[in-house]
């Protein structure tokens, strides 16, 4: 394995043996990397689902998954004593192309939060209330769906695409 590097620049006559060494070395290293990745994936990888997919039972209940949805501002409840945070998210499509086709993430989030027909999910989280948890923010949560149909989030990531990026001036003086 050690001589794999020099093997590539020796003369032709030796190349038969050397190339083999090169191959063996490279394969060994790749095997080590694949092994590390494979063992690390166990228990540390999550399906990334939409609310629809989660509710329809696409994965086994109780397994750790990642879900994305839009936060409904009125539903946010927070108890600063216990740090218990609960809110409802509504389904948004997971496919980037579909989001683009519907006019970008900001408008998808906006529409989904208003549409009473999209599926919704109650989320419970314990911890500091994230600064970005507001109406129409995109929440990306890692956790488990309980038997009671509530999603118990262990990790909470929030994105607000509309606020800084696409806002146009509202009051303008021509």
């Amino acid at each position: 394995m050690i001589s794999l590097e020099d093997s590539s620049h020796t003369e032709q006559k030796k190349s038969g043996i050397k190339v083999n060494k090169f191959l063996i070395g490279g394969v060994l290293m790749l095997a080590a990397v694949v092994l590390l990745i494979a063992t690390s994936l166990k228990g540390n990888a999550q399906y990334y689902l939409t609310v629809d997919e989660l509710i329809s039972g696409k994965v086994k209940q109780g397994s750790s998954v990642r879900v994305s949805g839009v936060v409904l501002g009125d539903s946010i409840q927070y108890d600063p004593r216990t740090l218990n945070l609960s809110f409802i998210v509504a389904n948004i499509p997971g496919d980037n192309q579909e989001i683009e086709a519907r006019g970008g993430l900001a408008s998808v989030l906006h529409e989904a939060s208003l549409d009473p027909n999209v599926s919704r999910l109650q989320v419970v989280y314990n911890g500091a209330r994230p600064d970005l948890l507001t109406n129409e923010a995109q929440a990306i949560m890692t956790g488990k769906l309980g038997e009671d149909g509530v999603f118990y989030a262990e990790e909470l990531l929030l994105k607000c695409p509309s606020r800084y990026e696409e806002g146009v001036p509202s009051q303008v003086v021509p």
Binding site: A32, T39, N44, L105, D131, P169
Partner: protein, 678 residues
């Protein structure tokens, strides 16, 4: 007039960069020095042109020209002056322009300093860098123009455009949106420029490597000529990464410093391949080996730099760095693909010319150590790449997105980082050519044994996880082995030259700057590792809601909530600041002021932790929430972060080490050097 000056000079720079590409290629074809001179001048002039454009944008930013889209989106009237300047890289358009400006600056410097000495390589360097600049300028001008303005159309819509649409009026907003509150931090001034300096700095060695391949120059000239610019770029990339961590630690209020976020990783991976390159580069200089490998590494690093710039802009991955999704994603992807395939094609074309007769003499030689170092860095890189691409790959293969988080990266890369530390401790004792296992063992048993004191100490202090103890041993081993080797060399020199210890040391370093710079970098990395171990393995935390006068305790510290002040600030914030008294075993240590700022304009709040830092630990306190009406109850979350400050201290040592290695030798006497510098 300021805007037109800004985009006007951009347009000229675009045309001139294309001229640079054409003139340098054509000039070489017809062997015309006059044509090459044209190419050189064209390249030189892009820097002042882009400087003018940057200056124009800065003037617009600080003077509040909110009719410009970029100014409107990244500044407002209440922002302090330094943040208005920093807004230059606060958004996509400005960042890309800044990228172009830095690249043209590097090209300018290279041409000023090396035109004579690297006359045969530079025409192709011009062609390649000008082409890259041309691509980025097209993005800036046609897709992400920072000089767009707002116009009101006939229908009353507000649109953003470079030129006024038909029958429209220019909009004149009276105030802007302002920079995202999360970006209003000292880190904003230094983190993005450092990262971008690192990114663009790697373009120069890459262009040299490609120029050497095209010209069929198989010697080390390209590599030696760009050694310092690679080191320079690497230093800034390191600084950028550390500053990003520090910023996250200060602003995001989660008690952490690194979240294995895809965008963080996309800045880390060029650092990984760049670090591998810095090591294998030495092997080529000293031993004439790894020629193909060096070219491959610099190609990879360059492509990862572009990939990193692209990834943050593509909206492809979910990340806390929520940049807008933009139309330039596909263009970036195509650019990376073209550059990668063309570079790889060049390398394969010249493959047999790059052969070297040298072989690795022994498993214990320094050559072998550098090879293993490279394999480890590449393995870590592959794991990180797999991690960030996993959602995309899994969707392609199974139709279902699967993501991986921090535990995956920690689990997969942890053992490899540990091996790197081990190697770092061993390498000072290896020599070029061959080292026997026996001589290696003779030099190593002392530091290895002595280093056992470190895990012993941490065991007594309460650390009992074997991974933590092993890591602590490794760190002590690296530091001891490096220091003991230095002391040994100093002693030897002072004996043979009859010099005092101090003089021997300073002369030794002067004559082997790269070796001892490298040693210092290694010690810096080991110290950073100490900080990481401290927070990763020994962080403890508590939280609770308490009334004024009440306390929370964590290990032997008590935290007493004294009062809460809420006030509006002149720059549009509602600022809540708690006063917390910290005691240790009853003795007063001082007060900290955790708070939270609510920005009225953007309706967003930002948590500001109160931190008490010592060499031993950080007490990191977050004001989570408070009762609005009574102001007697407030919720705090407290982190006890042992050793975290060694992460920042280590990074300073790393920077100093890089500077030692970068510092030009006063004279090039070589006779005095005791050993081959590394």
């Amino acid at each position: 007039m300021i805007g037109p000056i800004g985009y006007g000079s951009l347009v000229i720079a675009l045309v001139i960069s294309l001229l640079g590409v054409v003139a340098s290629i054509y000039g070489q074809r017809i062997h015309s020095n006059a044509m090459l001179e044209t190419a050189r001048r064209a390249t030189l002039v892009t820097f002042p042109l882009l400087s003018l454009s940057i200056a124009a944008l800065l003037v617009l930013l600080v003077s509040g020209h909110f009719e410009y889209t970029y100014v409107y989106q990244t500044t407002d009237l209440s922002m302090p002056f330094y943040l208005k300047l920093a807004a230059l890289w606060g958004g996509q358009e400005g960042s890309l322009l800044f990228w172009c400006w830095l690249l043209s600056g590097f090209m300018f410097l290279t041409l000023m300093r090396k035109w004579k000495s690297d006359h045969d390589l530079l025409p192709w360097v011009i062609a390649i860098t000008s082409f890259i600049l041309f691509f980025f300028l097209i993005l800036v001008l046609f897709f992400e123009n920072p000089f767009n303005r707002y116009f009101i159309t006939m229908d009353g819509d507000v649109v953003s455009s470079l030129f006024p649409p038909m029958m429209s009026l220019q909009a004149n907003p009276t105030d802007g949106n302002g920079l995202s509150p999360l970006l209003r931090h000292f880190g904003m001034i230094v983190h993005p420029p450092a990262l971008y300096l690192g990114f663009t700095g790697f373009v120069i060695p890459y262009a040299y490597a490609m120029a050497a391949l095209i010209n069929g120059r198989t010697d080390d000239r390209w590599l030696k000529s760009t050694r310092r610019s690679a080191l320079f770029a690497w230093m800034f990339l390191s600084i950028g990464l550390v500053l990003g961590s520090r910023w996250a630690y200060d602003v995001l209020g989660w008690g952490g410093y690194w979240g294995w976020d895809p965008v963080e990783i996309s800045a880390l991976i060029p650092w990984l391949t760049g670090t591998a390159y810095l090591h294998s580069m030495v092997t080529q200089e000293k031993r004439g080996m790894f020629k193909h490998w060096n070219v491959a590494l610099i190609i990879l690093t360059f492509c990862l730099v572009i990939f990193g710039t692209f990834l943050t802009r593509s909206g492809l991955l979910s990340s806390v760095h929520s940049f807008s999704e933009s139309e330039i994603g596909p263009a970036f992807l195509a650019f990376i693909a073209v550059m990668f395939l063309a570079s790889l094609g060049l390398l394969l074309w010249r493959w047999s010319d790059l052969s070297s007769p040298y072989q690795i003499p022994s498993l214990f030689s320094r050559e072998a150590a550098f090879l293993i170092n490279n394999l480890l860095f590449i393995a870590i890189f592959l794991i990180c790449l797999t991690g960030i691409l996993f959602p995309i790959l899994s969707e392609l293969l199974t139709g279902q997105k699967v993501t991986v988080g921090p535990p995956f990266y920690e689990h997969a890369t942890g053992p490899l980082f540990a091996l790197l530390l081990l190697l770092m401790g061993i390498v000072p004792l290896t020599i070029w050519g061959s080292t026997t296992a026996r001589s290696l063992g003779k030099g190593l048993w002392k530091p290895a044994l002595l280093a056992l004191l470190a895990p012993l100490l941490s065991f007594i202090l309460g650390g009992n996880r074997w991974t933590a103890l092993l890591s602590v041993w490794l760190i002590a081993f690296v530091i001891l082995a490096t220091l003991m080797d230095t002391i040994r060399s100093v002693k030897m020199r002072s004996r043979t030259h009859q010099e005092s210890g101090w003089k021997a040391f300073s002369l030794l370093v002067q004559h082997n700057r790269r070796r001892y710079g490298g040693y210092l970098i290694h010690i810096g990395v080991a110290l950073m590792g100490l900080g990481i171990i401290g927070i990763e393995f020994f962080q403890t935390t508590t939280q609770g809601m308490i009334a004024a006068g009440e306390s929370l305790t964590l290990s032997n510290y008590t935290f007493t909530y004294e009062k809460l002040d809420i006030a509006d600030t002149p720059d549009g914030r509602n600022s809540a600041v708690a006063t917390v008294l910290i005691r240790r075993d009853g003795r007063e240590l001082g007060r900290v002021y955790p708070g939270s700022d609510y920005y009225y304009a953007s309706q967003q709040s930002v948590t500001r932790p109160g931190i008490r830092s010592t060499l031993g630990n950080d007490l990191y306190i977050i004001l989570v929430d408070w009762l609005e009406i009574t102001t007697d109850g407030a919720t705090f979350k407290i982190y006890y972060n042992p050793l975290i400050n060694w992460l920042w201290i280590g990074s300073f040592v790393l920077i100093i080490g890089t500077l030692v290695a970068l510092w030009p030798a006063r004279n090039r006497r070589k006779a005095f050097s005791l050993e081959g510098s590394a």
